[in-house]
Symmetry: C2
Subunit: 793 residues, 2 copies
């Protein structure tokens, strides 16, 4: 098919059918928002036909219907493998309506049949209790992006096309959404796309001029500025502007032909001719009225082409004239021409949609679990740190993980289904080993001194946590695997994106037709306790407080105490499905505790007594309970706890001390709250029913209380953790500032062990002196005292 | 002064001094990163002169020194009122060094004197335990922006210049930072600036090419694209490109002259000639090497002009040749020419800096509390909802607040020191009344049907929570007042920005020279329980979980149960200083409980027994304890609790019920944890020591446990709240899905009150039937049963 600029008579007739299809989509959209009954308007519209409560968003819907219908045309014309991402996803009626018209909806939900009865159900269920949400939610086939919280459509779309060379994602970006930060930087994703091995994103800016109650910025700058903006972002904009349907159909068809041909040309240049220059990919600016084809005016105020069309333009129950307006509006689409006597879409129209898996509602990329293949995994045991005895020095836990991840990347290189993302922190986080086998994917200019940049690579780094998260979500949702490595403090930048993804997983897990996808894995390194270069701004371990608010079905939190545990945990996470896994690990040299075999057993249990560090049975009494439980979770708290135990055992050898280490944080919750939760008996067996527990925790201490408040021995659990004290200082001083250091932990224990008597009191005095010595020392040397670098005091 | 393009001999000499000043700034920057002693290199550099631990960021520092020095020149030349915002704030040595050289640092910290001894202390304290952070932190005079977490420099800068017509903020944007979402959208802030009544932002893109370990995107696109990008964003870019200092001084001076003259011209056009066209403000692209003037090569790898210069380029203790490299580097600045025999900056150089309050380290705008004036407040009591009896219908709590905020805006209109920000939700959140007196500030194009848009207005709306937050922070930090209204779920978008602002408040509160600023007030409306149009994606009450992680000194959380309480709380928040206040309120019609007098008393206490709803003394027994405490926090939980109490008292009249309502969430914590915390006696007096407490809470239920786990009666506190169950449904059904509804609350109470016997059991059966009826009803009618709209069952 050639490029179309002026519609020929044949085109005019093609557009006539296309226009009818668009009217059908608009009709079923309005029907979803308004109708309870009388779905085909076979009798005059009565108030009883209108839903008692009207919810939804009309404004964006007709424009999205227009786009969808035109995409159907090019999918057929060029046999495209295409999915649709709806940035303004609250225009749910558009995606639901179009997947209904093309038939994919009824295949997933047979009760929503393609006849009058199904149409009635389709209308009733929309935004109705017990029905479906008003957004492009997981319930909607073809959707990988709900669009409830705005800003991520373009990042998701790029994530979807990475390593999917045949896929084109048509990404509708609302001009409201375009004002968000994440979307604004996502235009630059094109510098990270390889035209040879990745697919293409076709952004369609849906410039309908208004948000909820305001005009949009991009609609109120000059045409010249808008064009410069997109060219500056590396795109070639094609403008489709107007409101008269016949003309707009011709313009949109021409624009899409041009865009598809350009995309194919760039791909061909790269794939067949090895052309390396970064393409200036096409994008479309669709400048059309908000609430297009809706009521021109309601109660004397403009509606079509105005912000007032954003939600529900008419309220027949409250306003006398609205019922008639609604009937006129519905009839303006001429439903008799669109649906046959059974309520099915007329065959000549139905034939306009693609068929089978080419339908955007049936494309398997939008139900990524269908395409998901297991990762080829190296044996993580082979990367083990050698631990001949507990406390041997390590090189940095993430630095041990690096070679394992390198080989995950290597083993799956041919499959092209694994990526590591990070905001320019992969090296800083200790994972430089991955660059022994792969590169950072980069399609902007290069310079001679660049390191590890290449057109193709398994690592993607842009200084935008939003982009990393959005790309990875899009990649996972289309059936691939990945890992996001990030400074712990700055993962809060994507709190809200995590929230939305967790909600997506939560809802989609209950939809049998949605296949499970690979887990979203966070590796949070450069954590709160080791921010030597940066200090207070880089110290925040609170992401997990947020994570545990989400459904227990989908969230997992791991704090491996050493490198071998980290290997075991990461292997588990990369194999898991449909979770969000948060793994927190250190990158600095730190003592190692467990051999690989011990680590495997410990991580499988998720929590356990470290008998080699405990002396609870020192007196030979079998089954005796300890005097005190020293619990720890996280690498630095584990070090300080073991150092504290070392002090206790040396100074008070009669004391029976138990060390409990927690890898899987969710073990602490009751099983009623989280599937990983220990039984109460199991918990009591570890933490006793009545002995003091000194718990050294990586993050904010109250999280431990929140997880354990229902446990028998909760009242005796004393937690130390980060309490928002920090600055530029030494690693050990960070623990001192937050009372998490070995000396404080010992003093905490003694305070709860009156039986230690004078010996205990003396020890406290010596430790207090030691703390004073520490404070003098660091002010002079800027470093920790040599003996504090070790775990044995 | 005329525009300079080719340096004249006189200019050459001016640049010679300027260059010397720049060398001095670079010298004290390198000194801060490396030197423990020998600050003036009066003897050969020895290893003992180098700090034992080297921390900091060199890469960005020389470029920022270059900018600062040139800004000093134009401040003097044009008598500018200017402050400096350092986007790459981790280049702390630059801002610390320059404020030291100009003298403002020593005025704040007299012990860091302007002589050799002071220089030694300046060097030692940097990034050293007990010293100062490595960033442009609150400790640094002249800073309103720490730059630890990247992305907010431009938003902060715009916030600072709103309503400050004489102020220019020179905002250095790192090219790494420019990749973040918040920064990417902040370029569009220029559509919201009024050239007549606001000041100007002069962005300086610090295009030094590299992030931590990668090139930057903006450095690797074509010059043409970069120029188009900025023009498309509405700016007029001026390029300063090169590395040879003499030439760069001339270019930079010319660029700054041009920029300042353009700014003045635009301001003059608007202010004196009423020119309304949106200015294409100037901005500067400074393309200079990363680590400029640093070591060219280290260990055979390029350093200057490369990512390797990002942090500390040399490690003399570990690498043999580095000591000599460091000495050569320091000497390359020719310190003998810069400092006199006492170690003071030579007078002819010192004279290049501005004096007094024109120094950027002494400008009062950067210590906003100095400029802060109290808001003129209307008497909030006059806006009271009339509550002749508890339970009367209300119009929506935020709708009652609207007129009060309108009059705050009106009363302070002449002072121009109050703004309301929101991402296009001010009307949706029920605050439309403010538009009776003011408008949305908007400087892009307008159309005839626009509503409430004007060049000047107290309301600012851009669909970017990041922008709203960043603008407001900048506005507050420069001594003004404001309010951010936002959908509750989407405030998570700025979690990390809240974190950083809370940290800033926390640190600055301990600096006596920093005056306290107005609180950052969040009004979170459109909350979790009423998301009828949007459903699950719009339901997340977890922001307060994050908030309470921050220092208790700076965070406050309020959940007013009705409109009069909301008025009282908001009046308090707007008068408060140096806090983050989170206020959560409803916008939908809901019952009202307290008269204004009662609301004032209740809010002053923050928590209290609602005797009018309780019957604990029904039997006339003075001082008797209730059988059960029904506690509530939040508007919807309060409604459900009172409805539950109504059921209980009707069905089980002998039961003694106490109703406790919580407005100030922090009352629940022990006083050791939060200054608002109730004493244990006070807590016991409300919640008893041993009676069952059924607590209906607005947010995630475990937050109540976290706050109360140390309280005597904690084990009997049973909390209901949002447990991540939601979809499109009715308001009442939302409470049912989360077991927070009146029926569940009654059943919870009965389960804990065995004394209710058969009567209680019967009531449970009736309520279970009622719940079934409810489920049938909404599936049919899409609405709650009529009797459930009321609080009395």
């Amino acid at each position: 098919m050639n490029q179309i600029h002026t519609p020929t008579p044949k085109d005019q007739s093609a557009f006539k059918d296309l226009d009818a299809y668009w009217r059908a989509a608009n009709y079923v959209s309005v029907g979803q928002i308004f109708l309870w009954d009388n779905p085909l308007l076979r009798r005059p519209l009565a108030l009883a036909d209108v839903k008692p409560m009207l919810l939804g968003h009309w404004g964006t819907t007709p424009g999205q219907n227009f786009i969808y219908v035109h995409l159907n045309r090019v999918i057929k014309a060029y046999d495209l493998d295409m999915i649709y991402v709806s940035g303004p996803g609250h225009g749910g009626p558009a995606v639901v309506g179009n997947t209904y018209l093309e038939g994919s909806y009824s295949e997933v939900y047979p009760e929503i049949s393609r006849d009058e009865s199904g149409l009635r159900k389709l209308f009733r269920q929309f935004s109705f209790p017990g029905g479906i949400p008003s957004h492009a939610s997981p319930e909607c086939p073809g959707s990988i992006h709900e669009g409830g919280e705005l800003g991520y459509s373009l990042s998701h779309s790029f994530g979807a096309v990475f390593d999917n060379p045949e896929l084109i994602v048509a990404c509708v970006v609302g001009d409201g959404e375009a004002e968000t930060g994440p979307l604004a930087t996502a235009w630059h994703s094109n510098k990270f796309l390889d035209p040879a091995t990745d697919g293409a994103v076709l952004p369609i800016l849906h410039l309908n001029g208004y948000k909820i109650a305001n005009p949009t910025v991009l609609a109120r700058i000059t045409h010249e500025e808008l064009e410069q903006f997109f060219r500056g972002c590396g795109w070639t904009p094609i403008f489709v502007e107007g409101h008269e349907p016949v003309q707009m159909h011709a313009l949109m068809a021409a624009a899409l032909d041009q865009a598809v041909q350009e995309i194919r040309r760039f791909q061909c240049q790269a794939r067949e001719h090895g052309q390396m220059e970064r393409p200036r990919w096409p994008m479309i600016v669709l400048n059309s009225p908000k609430g297009w084809t809706g009521p021109k005016e309601v109660d004397g105020e403009p509606n079509e082409g105005n912000f007032r069309s954003h939600q529900v333009p008419l309220h027949p129950a409250e306003h006398a004239g609205h019922l008639k307006l609604l009937e006129d509006w519905l009839l303006s689409y001429r439903p008799d021409e669109l649906f046959d006597e059974h309520g099915g879409l007329r065959p000549e129209l139905a034939a306009l949609a693609p068929s089978g898996l080419r339908r955007m509602g049936a494309n398997p990329h939008a139900n990524g679990g269908q395409l998901l293949r297991d990762l080829k995994m190296p044996d993580y045991r082979e990367y083990a740190a050698q631990v001949p005895a507990p406390g041997v020095p390590g090189v940095g836990d993430t630095r041990v993980l690096g070679p394992f991840l390198r080989d995950v990347a290597r083993l799956n290189d041919a499959e092209r289904n694994f990526r590591i993302l990070g905001p320019d922190e992969t090296v800083s986080n200790g994972l430089a080993a991955v660059f022994e086998t792969t590169n950072r994917q980069w399609n902007a200019a290069t310079a001679p001194d660049d390191k590890w940049l290449a057109p193709q690579g398994r690592v993607m780094e842009m200084l935008s946590e939003h982009q990393c998260e959005g790309w990875l979500e899009g990649y996972l949702l289309t059936g691939r695997h990945g890992l996001f490595n990030c400074y712990e403090a700055f993962i809060h930048i994507v709190d809200s994106m995590f929230n939305q993804h967790a909600k997506w997983l939560n809802v989609s897990a209950d939809l049998p037709w949605r296949r499970k996808i690979a887990s979203l894995n966070y590796l949070l390194a450069s954590h709160v306790w080791r921010q030597d270069h940066n200090g207070f701004t880089h110290q925040d371990p609170g992401f997990i407080d947020l994570v545990v608010n989400k459904s227990a079905e989908v969230v997992r939190v791991y704090l491996p105490p050493d490198a071998n545990c980290l290997l075991s945990v990461m292997d588990h996470c990369l194999r898991s499905r449909h979770y969000v896994n948060v793994v927190i690990a250190g990158k600095h040299p730190a003592p190692q505790w467990l051999t690989m075999d011990a680590a495997v057993a410990h991580c499988a249990a998720g929590i356990g007594i470290w008998e080699w560090a405990s002396n609870e049975s020192a007196d030979g009494e079998a089954g005796a309970e300890p005097d005190v439980v020293m619990a720890c979770c996280g690498d630095v708290p584990t070090l300080e706890t073991l150092a504290a135990v070392s002090i206790l055992r040396e100074a008070l050898p009669d004391l029976r001390v138990r060390v409990v280490n927690v890898v899987d944080l969710m073990k602490l919750q009751p099983p009623s709250e989280h599937p990983h939760g220990l039984s109460d008996e199991g918990f009591d067996a570890l933490f006793t029913r009545d002995k003091p527990v000194i718990f050294a925790f990586h993050a904010y201490p109250w999280l431990i209380h929140r997880l354990t408040y229902r446990r028998t021995n909760h009242k005796n659990i004393h937690v130390r953790g980060y309490k928002e004290e920090g600055t530029i200082t030494t690693p050990f001083d960070m623990t001192v500032l937050n009372d998490l250091d070995r000396f404080h932990l010992v003093m905490d224990a003694i305070d709860r062990l009156p039986q230690t008597g004078a010996e205990g009191a003396n020890l406290k005095v010596r430790l207090a002196a030691k703390l004073e010595e520490h404070k003098r020392h660091i002010r002079t040397y800027g470093q920790d005292m040599p003996e504090i670098r070790n775990w044995r005091w």
